[in-house]
Subunit: 77 residues, 2 copies
């Protein structure tokens, strides 16, 4: 199963990107949505995958940044 | 038929995003790939859809910027 992880912080830009993904990603992907503001324990995992800002989509370990909502640095505090 | 237009400029960042799209976008979308550096006559159309930089994906008239390759302003010259 292909895995798609969507990292966000609940921002309006994030929600727009999430809506797009839910609509446009191939159903062969299993999508998990992670709110990094509420799940700060997963920030390290996101950074390891190359996530520098949210919203971001990690597809099979490759990170893609979609538009710009917030820097991942700002989510650590 | 849903329409997805991918605007790019041949940059490495663009190619990575295009590969992701070809792999991950739902097959219900018809994907058109437009090289704005070679097709400057389509820059206006991209701007009208809200494209500010490439690579960008326009899904049914909504623009999403994926990572950052080049500003659309730089493609006009």
């Amino acid at each position: 199963m292909n895995k798609a992880t969507f990292y966000h912080a609940g921002c309006p830009v994030c929600l727009g990107a999430e809506h797009m993904l839910a609509e446009a990603i191939d159903p062969k992907y299993q999508i998990e949505s992670v709110h990094l503001g509420e799940n700060t324990d997963r920030i390290l995992e996101a950074e390891k995958a190359g996530v520098k800002s949210v919203p971001a989509l990690v597809l099979n370990d490759q990170a893609f940044h979609i538009n710009f909502g917030a820097s991942i640095e700002d989510l650590k505090h």
